[in-house]
C-alpha cells in the first residue's frame, strides 16, 4: 500500500479532531480558547503527518507550530491585552463568506473526486531523514538559503515593527 497503510479508523479520528479544533479556532468568542484550539489543531495535523509516514514533517510541525508559533501568538494576545472579543464576532461579510467557503469546498470536492490521482501511484518512497536532508542540501540548497534569508528579514522586520515609537534614539 503506497504511503503506508491507510487506517480508516485512525484517519476518521484524526480528521474529526483536526476539523473540530479548526472550527473551534474560527468560532470561539474568547480568543484564548481559539488559540488553545489552534494548538490542538496543529497537534492533530502532526499526527496526520505521522499517519502519512512523514515523521520528519510531524516533528517539525510540533517543534515549530506547536512549540514556537503558538507561543508567539499567545504572546501577541497578551501584548494586545484583549482576551475577550466584545461586540460582533464576525463582519457583515460573513453572510457572504460562509457561502463562499461552502462553494469553494464544493468546487474542490468536485476537483478531488473527478481527478484520478491514486491510480498513478505505485511505490512508497518512504523517504528517510537522511535522504531528505541530502536532497535539501544539494538540490534544494538555493531555496533553503533563500528561506533562511527570508527568515532573517522577517525577524528584523518584526523587531522594527514591534518596537515602540519612543524607543528610537
Amino acid at each position: 500500500m503506497p504511503g503506508g497503510d491507510f487506517h480508516p479508523f485512525f484517519f476518521v479520528v484524526i480528521a474529526a479532531w483536526i476539523l473540530v479544533c479548526g472550527l473551534g479556532v474560527v468560532l470561539f468568542r474568547n480568543i484564548i480558547y481559539s488559540a488553545v484550539s489552534m494548538v490542538f489543531c496543529f497537534l492533530g495535523v502532526a499526527f496526520a503527518y505521522a499517519l502519512l509516514n512523514a515523521e520528519l514533517v510531524a516533528i517539525v510541525q510540533i517543534l515549530i507550530y506547536v512549540g514556537a508559533t503558538s507561543v508567539v501568538i499567545l504572546f501577541a494576545i497578551m501584548l494586545t491585552e484583549v482576551q475577550q472579543s466584545y461586540g460582533q464576532l464576525f463582519h457583515r461579510q460573513a453572510i457572504f463568506a460562509a457561502p463562499l467557503a461552502v462553494a469553494a469546498a464544493v468546487v474542490m470536492t468536485v476537483m478531488v473526486v473527478s481527478t484520478e490521482l491514486a491510480d498513478v501511484g505505485d511505490t512508497s518512497l518512504n523517504l528517510s531523514v537522511h535522504a531528505l536532508s541530502s536532497l535539501l542540501f544539494n538540490r534544494y540548497v538555493f531555496p533553503f538559503e533563500l528561506v533562511s534569508l527570508v527568515l532573517l528579514a522577517a525577524m528584523i522586520g518584526a523587531i522594527v515593527l514591534a518596537r515602540r515609537q519612543g524607543e528610537k534614539r
Binding site: 463582519h91 461579510q93 457572504f96 463568506a97 463562499l100 462553494a103 469553494a104 468546487v107 476537483m111 473527478s114
Partner: protein, 636 residues
Amino acid sequence: MEAADSMKIAVILIVLLPLVGFITTLLFGKRMGGKAHIVPVALVTVTAALAVYAFGWVFQHQEEPFVWDAFSWIVAGRYHASWGFQVDTLTGIMLLVVGIIGMLTHYYSIGYMRGDGGYYRFFAYLNLFMFAMYMLILADNFLLLFLGWEGVGLCSYLLIGFWFDRKSASQAGKKAFLVNRVGDFGFTLGMFLVLVTTGTLQFAGVFDKAETIGAGTLLWICLLLFTGAVGKSAQFPLHVWLPDAMEGPTPVSALIHAATMVNAGVYMVARAYPLFAQSETAMLVVMVVGTFTAIFAACIAITQNDIKKVIAYSTISSLGFMFMALGAGAWVAGIFYLFVHGFFKGLLFLCSGSVIHAMGGEQDMRKMGGLRTRIPVTFWTMLIAAVALVGIFPLSGFWAKDEILGGAFAHGYYVVWLVGIVTAFLTAVFAFRMMFMTFWGESRADAEVQAHIHESPKVMTVPLVLLAIPAAAVGAVVGWPPEAGWIHRFLDPVFFAVEHEEFEWLGTGGALMAVSLAVALLGVYLAYVLYLRRRELPERLAARVPWAYEASLRKMYMDDIYEVVPVRSTIAFSRFLWTGFDVHVIDGAVNGIARLWGWFGDRLRPLQTGRVHNYAFGILAGALALVVIVGWVWGI
C-alpha cells in the same frame, strides 16, 4: 581666357570685400568709435573701382557675357544650383549704378551719421547691403539672385529699423520685410515652377528652354516672378512699405530705397526678358500694374508734407514708369530710366538729407522755406535733381522718360501714354511743390532752428556735386540720339529680339517729345502759381474736394485697408486657432480622455474600502471564479 581670369578675381573681390567690411566692422567697429567708417568706406571705394573695371570689361566683350560657375551650392536629387556669376551688359549697367552711388553714399554717410550711437553698426549694415546687392546683380541663376534679393531685404530691414528705439522705425522695418516676403512667396513659387519645368535655375539654361515651355505654365511663371518684383520694387498693391521705409537714415533712403534695391524688381523682370517677352498676357499685367502704380503714387505724392515721403512716392511712381516701359515692350527705355533714375533720385534723397541735416532733423516742409540762400550747394544740386526728375530738356530724366512714353505710344498703348503724360505732369507739380516749399518763400521755421541752419560739411556736399554731374548729363550722353543712343546698342545682346523704331524729329517722336516737355513745364508753372504766388489756392482747392484731398493725404487708405484685412484678420484667426482650437478642441480632447478615465476610476474607488478582509474576500472569490471558468472552458 586670361581676361576672364582677371574678371574672376574682380567678381570675387566685388562680392567679398563688402562682406569683409561688414564682418570686420561688426567685430571691431565699436572699438574704433568715430573712425569706424575707415575700413568699410575704403573697401567700398575699391569695390566701386572694381565694378567700373568689370563694366569696362563688358564694354569690350559686349557680345559674350562673362559666365563663371564658381562652385556648387545645392546638389539634391536631380537638381543643382551653384554659386555662379554672370556679367553681361545689363549687369554692367547695374554695376555702374550700384558701385558709384553706393560709394558716394558711403562718403556722404560719414558726415550725415557723425556722432550717432550706432555709427559703426550703420557702416556694417551698409557694407552688408553692398554685398547682397552685388550678389543680386552678379548672380547667374535665380536662386543666387534670390539670395541677394533677400539679403538686400534684410539690410533694408536693419537700416530702416536702424533707430530701433523709435517705435515707428522698428515698425517700418518689420513692415518692409514682411511685405517683401509676400512678394517673395510668389518669387519662390515661380522658381519652383521654373525648376520643375526646365530642370535648372541657371539663367542661360532656363532661357534656352523658354520656347519649349507651354503658354499656361509660362504665364504662371511670369506672374509669380512678377509678384516678387511687385514686392521688391514697391508696386501696387505691395508698395505700402516704401513710404514707411523713410524712417531709416536718409543715406539709406537714397541708396537702398531709391537707387539700388528697389530697382531689383525691374532688373529681375528685365533679366527674365526671354520669359516675359513670350507671354503677352504677362507683359500686359506688368504694364497695367506699372502704369496704375505710377499715377496712383503721383496722386498721393502731391499732398504729402514730409519731404522724404514726397520723394518716396515719387520713387514708387518712377518704378511704375519702369514697369510700364518693360510691359509695353520698351525694354531698353525701362533700363535707361532705371539707370538715370538711380542718379537723380539718389541725389534728390541725399539733398533732402542735407536739408534735414540743416533743419536740425525737421522733415515737415510746412516748417521750411527760404533755404535757397542759406544752403546753396544743396539747393543747386537738388534743383538739378528735381529738373532731371521732372524731365526737362536736356537733363537726364528727359531722355529716359520720353523714350518710355514714346515706346508706349509706338506699341499702340495710347491710354498708357496718356496716363504717363498725366503722371509726368503730376510729377512736375509735386517735385516743384517740394522745391518751392523748401527753398523759396520766407522761412517758416522757429527762431531756434533758424539760427542753427547751416550748409552741410564737405564730406556731404562733395558727393552731392559728384552725383549731380551724372544726374544732369548721363541721360544725354548715353541716350543721344533718341531710340538709337549708345545704351540701345549696349543692351542689344540682352534684349536680343527688341526692335527699335526709327526716331523722327519731325514726326511722331518729335511731337511726343514736345508734348511731354510742354506738360512738364506746365506742371512746374502750376506749382509756381500754387505754392509761391497764390498760397491760399491749394487750401481752397482742398476744401472744394475734401474727399479727394483726404484720400490722397491718407495714402488712398491703403494702410488702413491692410491693417484691417490681412493683419487684424490673421491675428484674430490665429488667436482663435490657439485659444479656441488648440487649447479647447485638441487639448480638450486629450484632457477629456484623461478626465474620462478619472471619472471611471472615481466610480471604482468605493471598491477600495481599505479593509483587508474585503480584499481577502475578493482574492478568494476571484481565485474560485478562475478555477471554475478554467475548468469550464477546458471542459473538465
